[in-house]
Amino acid sequence: MTNSPIVALHGTPAVAGGNAPSEICHSPLAPGGAHVRSVRDEFHGDLLEVSMGPHHPSTHGVFRMIATLDGETIVKLKPVFGYLHRNHEKIGENTTYLGSMPYTDRLDYLCSMTNNWAYALAVEKLAGQPVPERTEYLRVILAELTRLLNHTCLAGFLLQDTGASGTPLMYAFREREKILDLFEALSGSRMMCNYQRFGGCRVDASPEWLEAAKRLADGYNEFLDEYEALITGNEILMARTQGVGVMPRQLAVSAGITGPMLRAAGVDYDIRKVDGYGVYPRFNFRVPLGDHGDTYDRYMIRVLEMRESIEILRQAFAQLPSGPIMDPKAKIRGFKPKPGEAYGRIEGPKGEIGFYLISDGGANPYRYRVRPPSFINLTVLEDMCLGHSIADAVIILGSIDIVLGEVDR
């Protein structure tokens, strides 16, 4: 009863043994059961193994899914990654604390600001380095802008994966450009910001920059409304995403899923609320939760999170204090924290992004480890895809929101 594709359809991971003899219809009550079985076998035919990726239009980089298909239904899916592995953690151990900062930009290249923050937070914990208040606010502003940026991109890419000919993607990118322009004006680079420093940040935001950012935050709801009118009520999108790729709460918790994916499964866990790092406790915002844990929930949770981010941004602009942006005691060169270990984590747009550092008192960390949300969220891909068609696998992957730079590191 085990090696049959039919069983696999109902959730038991089947061994893709090609044309394994099926006993599914064998029953003592059925005379000539053997005959029936052979007909069934012929009807089902062979399983088809399709290697999607590493060069595939919708695998978001160099990711590969070896999917075993029964017709178009996935009975087994093996993710293969590591094509983009570039020794990030080992490089981190061989370069100075500051030298790793630009490398964190390249982890999740959509969210360099939050990566910077998580790393800076870990190092500041390690060195016991205080941060000026204005910087804390700037960090919140930039992190929420990054969240807008990331979720906007995700919404665009997800719709692109469902085959929407680029229109939602282009709208998303239109808005994303505006945020990238802000990042460029502030940090000098659009995506590789390299902005945070231990005990502060590199450049102060000018009043004009803040004004532009405020304008963007105020106008963002308008874009979201238009985007939702375009796509959220769309029957085709609902049919494609509702009930597809359901992730049960239990699985989400036990697999260590974080971020919007976890909240779409209905688990109330947001590090901004749990840890209250930075100045987040000073802001009023809500955490949207999904009830179904399917792809549609994952998409909608992100849209709702964006609306909450806009609220946070508004409050942050209103409260932003003046003052220094760099702690006077902070060191740029010759930075050597005392021996010890620290784990700094923040709620990145994709989930919990954390850096674990051990210092031996030298200029380099003794151990440097990243907790990448994309990678850990990707581990449940097969569980979500089994029993769905290959077209669904693409959008389930899209809804996980991975960036291969972070998965492979």
Binding site: E184, G188, S189, R197, A229, I325, M326, N364
Partner: protein
């Protein structure tokens, strides 16, 4: 009812189609070679070396102290200090190469440079047909005048220039005092009065902070006196020691 969402979507696309003909917010393309967006002042691309005066190589602010070489995360900088006939360092780079195919524009070299000698360029049209030679920028290609720096980063450059002038004034005064003291003492030791002025603490570059704001990196440790300058006066050095010299764990060396 079935189809309402679809019709709404069609409405949105129609609005954008019509809007693209009269609303600039709905036709966002910049047609690149003819039109260009204005770069923000903070924009950074690849580093260049600033020189004062008119002589490109002689006027370089760089003293070949190798701090940037050590701090550069991808290690794209290669420096050989120049020496005179007697083998003494002349505090000029003989070789200063930046491999811009390796450089990741992180600006850390700018931040760590105590002499404001290296800055970020804004030249982004740097495609080359040659894969190897011309991506390795030599000293001559890297050297650009201070006026160019002022042109691309006006606010930042003004700040830097003011600081340098201040430093020069102080150094001159100090050198004068030292010379007088030396003359008075008539000692044999010759303090580095003739040396180019080393700067007191100065921000490391891109800090167009508001006037009220203390410059971001102003509080960094006293600029390390380059380890290759044995004749340097040790006065400033004693505060923090020399944090750069015993740099451990040169990555991948």
């Amino acid at each position: 009812m079935l189809g309402i969402g679809l019709l709404k979507g069609l409405g949105v696309t129609a609005k954008n189609l019509v809007g693209s003909f009269h609303d600039p917010a709905r036709l966002v393309t910049t047609e690149y070679p003819e039109q260009r967006t204005k770069l923000p002042e903070n924009y950074r691309n690849f580093p260049f070396l600033v020189y004062d005066g008119t002589a490109a190589i002689d006027g370089l602010r760089c003293v070949a102290c190798k701090i940037c070489e050590v701090e550069c995360p991808p290690q794209c900088i290669y420096i050989i200090p120049d020496r005179d006939e007697k083998g003494r360092p002349t505090k000029k780079p003989k070789v200063f190469d930046i491999d811009i195919s390796v450089c990741m524009s992180c600006q850390i070299c700018v931040e760590v440079c105590p002499f404001d000698a290296i800055k970020m360029d804004q030249q982004y049209e740097i495609a080359e047909a040659d894969r190897f030679d011309r991506l390795l920028l030599k000293r001559e290609a890297l050297a650009k005048p201070n006026s160019y720096y002022q042109e691309i980063h006006p606010a930042e450059a003004a700040q830097v220039d003011a600081m340098l002038a201040e430093a020069r004034r102080k150094a001159d005064a100090k050198a004068k005092a030292a010379a007088e003291a030396a003359a008075a003492k008539a000692a044999t030791a010759k303090p580095g009065a003739a040396n180019p002025p080393t700067r007191p603490p100065a921000p490391s570059g891109s800090t167009p902070a508001t006037a009220a704001m203390k410059p971001a990196t102003a509080a960094m440790p006293e600029p390390a006196v380059p380890p290759v300058q044995p004749t340097q006066t040790p006065a400033e050095n004693s505060a923090t020691g020399n944090p750069v010299a015993p740099k451990t764990g040169t990555p991948g060396a």
